[in-house]
């Protein structure tokens, strides 16, 4: 919605917008309450969500968080929290395009540098499953595709 709003501002310079051009606003308003409530639920449950995702990660492949003497947990946790918050923001303002341009594309290059794709793949898959415990089906329907987008970009 935010990116679309920026585009709209640019394109309607000096004229009125058509109904078609305003449709995205209508769509946003229709889902706005869902987005707000989901956003706040995620924020409240963040610690639990991350904790459960971490457990899932450990259970799936302990080596992803610990290789030999090196403990990656703190790093992983910081990145997972970051990712969750950026995704939640994208949910709030309905801006998947912005999420990609402002965060995911850069973060993808960082994750590849540190060969953390596998870890990301499992992390965001687990996040999708775990957030459903805290959200209504409608809210999850809005949020999980965003997490899936993150998984796709970061997990490759």
């Amino acid at each position: 919605m935010l990116s679309q709003l920026q585009t709209l501002v640019r394109e309607v310079d000096g004229r009125y917008a058509t109904d078609t051009e305003l449709l995205f606003l209508q769509n946003y308003l229709q889902t706005a309450r869902l987005r707000f409530s989901a956003y706040q639920k995620i924020q409240k449950a963040e610690k639990d969500i991350i904790r459960q995702v971490k457990q899932k990660l450990k259970a799936t492949n302990p080596k992803l968080l610990r290789r030999g003497k090196v403990d990656f947990s703190a790093k992983w946790q910081r990145d997972a929290v970051s990712g969750l918050r950026f995704c939640a923001h994208a949910l709030l303002v309905a801006d998947e395009e912005g999420l990609e341009e402002n965060f995911l594309l850069w973060f993808q290059s960082v994750m590849r540098s540190f060969k953390a794709q596998k870890s990301c793949d499992i992390t965001y898959k687990a996040m999708q499953d775990i957030v459903r415990q805290y959200l209504t089906p409608q809210e999850a329907e809005l949020f999980c595709p965003i997490l899936a987008q993150a998984r796709l970009l970061l997990g490759q």
Partner: protein
């Protein structure tokens, strides 16, 4: 040491830890009162169109003919050298760690991100053959190649020079770079070979003989003698 306009970037002043800052709105700061554009790292920027690239290349060809390729390469080398010094400063300022101590891939990706933000294209480093002393750089959306279109010959000499200049400074060894595949030859992306001079000279020779990028890759990997 801060460059003169590093304080001109208000977003960076406010959020110095925001490492994800490469989209257009975040990376560039338009200082209307001064009429300047500063980027996140404090470098002055200007906006140009494809006309600039065409003007530069065609103007050069008019002046020096076929030598324009070598001139563009030299310009690139000098640019890469200067940029590596600039990069040394801003990388450490951004991440509080020296380039020498950083994860190599992260270092290199970080170096290239501003170029992507500026419209020079996205890249991909292929270090699979590093043990044999060479590496490939794949470039997507070369500003020069897509400006010129399919002209039937490689055109990204500026980039080749840039990579040669930058990597030479970073590894402290004399490296050369040559484009072995180009969008302007109908390929979907550009491919560069980076290595010591003898290797690059050999590749240039093979290219002249009509070898394709795949031929060159094969010959290098098989350890074919260079002369």
């Amino acid at each position: 040491m801060d460059t003169p306009s590093v304080r001109a970037h208000t977003l960076r002043q406010k959020y110095p830890q925001k490492h994800n800052h490469y989209n257009f709105a975040d990376f560039f700061q338009f200082n209307e009162s001064e009429g300047t554009i500063a980027d996140w790292n404090g470098s002055r920027n200007i906006l140009t169109s494809e006309d600039f690239i065409i003007g530069l290349l065609e103007g050069l060809e008019e002046e020096v003919g076929a030598a324009s390729a070598a001139v563009m390469y030299s310009i690139g080398v000098e640019w890469g050298k200067q940029d590596s010094l600039f990069f040394d400063q801003w990388f450490e300022r951004e991440y509080k760690v020296s380039p020498q101590q950083a994860n190599l891939m992260f270092l290199l990706e970080t170096w290239w991100w501003p170029f992507t933000a500026q419209g020079w294209g996205r890249w991909e480093i292929d270090m699979a053959d590093r043990q044999q002393g060479f590496m490939f750089i794949n470039l997507f959306d070369s500003a020069v190649a897509r400006t010129l279109g399919d002209v039937g010959k490689p055109v990204c000499y500026l980039y080749a020079g840039l990579y040669a200049g930058f990597f030479t400074e970073m590894v402290r060894k004399q490296l050369s770079c040559i484009e072995i595949q180009c969008y302007s030859m109908g390929e979907t992306y550009c491919k560069f070979l980076l290595g010591a001079k003898e290797r690059i000279d050999a590749a240039a020779f093979w290219l002249n003989e009509g070898a394709t990028a795949i031929d060159i890759e094969k010959r290098l990997r098989s350890g074919e003698p260079l002369s």
